[in-house]
Symmetry: C2
Subunit: 501 residues, 2 copies
Amino acid sequence: MRITNFIQSKLMTAEEVAVVLPEKVTIGASGFTPAGYPKVIPTAFAKRIEDETKKGKEFSINLYTGASTGDELDGVLARTGAMKKRLPYQANADLRNQINSGKIEYTDLHLSHVASYITHGILEPIDVAIVEAVDVTADGRIYLTTSSGMSATYINHAKEIFIELNENHPLELKGFHDIYLPDLPPKGRPIFITHVDDRIGAPYVKCDPRKIKGIVRTNLLDSNQDFKKPDEISYRIAEHILEFILHEISKGRIPAEYLPFQSGVGNVANAVLSCIAKDSRFHAIEMYTEVIQDSIFDILDADKLHCASTCALTFSKAGQDRFHANINELRPKFIIRPQEISNHPEVIRRMGIISMNTALEVDIYGNVNSTHVMGTGMMNGIGGSGDFTRNAYISIFMAPSVAKNGNISAFVPMVSHVDHHEHSTQVIVSEYGLADVRGLTPKERAKVIIENCVHPIYRTPLKEYFNHALEVSKTKHTPHDLRRVFDWHIKYLEKGTMKPD
Amino acid sequence: MRITNFIQSKLMTAEEVAVVLPEKVTIGASGFTPAGYPKVIPTAFAKRIEDETKKGKEFSINLYTGASTGDELDGVLARTGAMKKRLPYQANADLRNQINSGKIEYTDLHLSHVASYITHGILEPIDVAIVEAVDVTADGRIYLTTSSGMSATYINHAKEIFIELNENHPLELKGFHDIYLPDLPPKGRPIFITHVDDRIGAPYVKCDPRKIKGIVRTNLLDSNQDFKKPDEISYRIAEHILEFILHEISKGRIPAEYLPFQSGVGNVANAVLSCIAKDSRFHAIEMYTEVIQDSIFDILDADKLHCASTCALTFSKAGQDRFHANINELRPKFIIRPQEISNHPEVIRRMGIISMNTALEVDIYGNVNSTHVMGTGMMNGIGGSGDFTRNAYISIFMAPSVAKNGNISAFVPMVSHVDHHEHSTQVIVSEYGLADVRGLTPKERAKVIIENCVHPIYRTPLKEYFNHALEVSKTKHTPHDLRRVFDWHIKYLEKGTMKPD
């Protein structure tokens, strides 16, 4: 780290920043998944809140980020009890509990909508941006760390900016980012990305340096958990997806050079990449996605990555070490983009993405619930799944057929919350098989989903429900018996299982 | 009409065409709303099917169009009993009955997805295109009539093309169309439309003239029903919308020159335009929409139309007469685009559309059902409402608070089918008022929707449901009691009313 006169003149401790933050504040923070989020300022601020709340002071915090972040931001601030509003995505246990107990108001937004809501003044305006960086210049160039997220927009709109200058991120991260914000209506122009590796912006976020009120030096790593190897069921799901892709290529519906892949976070997404790496029928791929995880190293080891465009590099400790050791060699392979671009419908539709996202539950007609456990409890949020699904070339939803030791079926008569509806979902896959429902009508969909994806213990009951619904529905375009449609969920809520008696 | 040697050489009667159409056939037809669809060939084909079915022949027809069409296409073919598959949208009573009795398989698609599904071979391929035109040249330039719809894509993909040369449409329609099809992945490029009146294509569809197998002369008008003046309730809804737009302008959230309007088909949409025409606080507007109806004449009379981009001109008989009488004067005001462009997410998001569409029912959290009566019966289809809602600058859903003499509440605990979910809906309006739910969390949304939009007889019961759900839900992000969530619908199905006892 090079401490210039400018940086020197702005240096503060985290505790000093914590003291000057307002008691009622809307914070726009860097971070997208536990990558590139501020760590020491939120922790010091939480400490201050806890201390001063005891003395009767009242705090009220709205926290906006890119997506989920680490516990040093989401966890510490949630636990103060002072968080009022959170958006657009989260995945922290303490935060989730407060959302579901009704204490925190959580606005679960399409990630591609956040910038418009901020810029057009729909949301409470941002007072303070807190951003992690590897470098800052005297003329206001801020070089971000392992994610881009909403940082550029938040920096633009904040009245004051505080920076965590994190020396554990190598200075060589400079150049990975491509910071470009689309012009918003009424001044919209085309976004000139036609290939995954097109660069159209700058490697830094530019701001008025007078808005930078403090810089805090830190060396805390992104706190990712260890990378878990995908399990057997994830590999079986992944194999169905790979067979489907090869089949589509053989039919001429996917070009032999593929289309860019988007893959969500989690076991199955990692299993897909791991299988592509191992499978000799697959050559090099491109990714246009939100999050890159450790599974990318399998692809790199197999020399099967042309380029990956992402909004965040979310590595485990081991992954970070490996990334740092090879950072200059890896530079041409990665572009980190703001989520305004990584998730933009224009670019996703144009390039023709093959998107792969996880479903909590899917119904017989292909409606997908990604967010709500039993219809009422927030899991994480819709995140970018809508941005990708709605505009993908092929949209794939993946779900292990059962959860909780088989007591929950991921395939149900009707989903208890809809995040992706039958008009937008195309391919559904579990470890039992894959249902390609593109172009099918509701009744045709029900047949292939029940036949191909459902766990054997739930297959007959689901077939029975469908036949019953077909019989009792007066209008039969999408047969349902509204009297029985949530019987499975109700049984789970009452008896802890959906299993047939 | 100028009958060139080329046209002369291809002339056939509708009956002659009907005879050469295959018994098992997938037809791609022109038409978007009852505008610009073929009339005499389908009618003759239906006659042949009825005659030959009696003699034991079997027919099987898949019909793809732009959107809904007139009875001379949808009605006559549905009534033969030979229609197997229909997409992507319909609004014909006989067709609807067969869809809901389970006889016709209907794929209800986002209109912006159809071209990709056709081009990439997801759907059964098109054998024959039947297209209405005002002129055809020897080198294969086809000049369409009052709609653009899917015609260009269907003409590209059909093995054989039949044309209805309709002399009731004036030759002066040449020049209204701007035919441009986006390059699809992996060859996607930006679509260079940044203003409503940008032209980027040709005034005709180009085809290999050898594919044109027959031309039928006709003079039947588009069979639009008489234009119904909006009712009192529609005007009250429209006034809430206008007040909202003026309020947003005063807050700086909509520019003073406005943003382009999209408005769906129907009473309320027409009332909005009629009110803009009359209201001296409104100056000239632009429209980027799918359908232009007679209400545009109010806007034109008030000299308040800069330009309207549409996919169809759907006028009543009186409207058509008026349009024809002034066609050259009106030419600079209108552009007719293929639905690949009128509904393209890239262009809609870039320009920042104010979209206004009708909801069948809305729930307390702002999920919208546009398609399914009581969750099982198809009304018309999702059409373009998803294309616009998902990418609009402001998305407005409009619904009279009750239907069927007050026996159905448009506002319910949970919608029985989801076409637009809480993440994508922004403004909900009934004749009682408007709920701006942008940026709100589910519980915040419930409060403003119940307070502002619901009919008085259903307001207290809905509030009671929400309070009950809040009490009994173990997790309270989106409170629901799955045991009672469809009680209103079930009561209507059993007793013919949702009204509280």
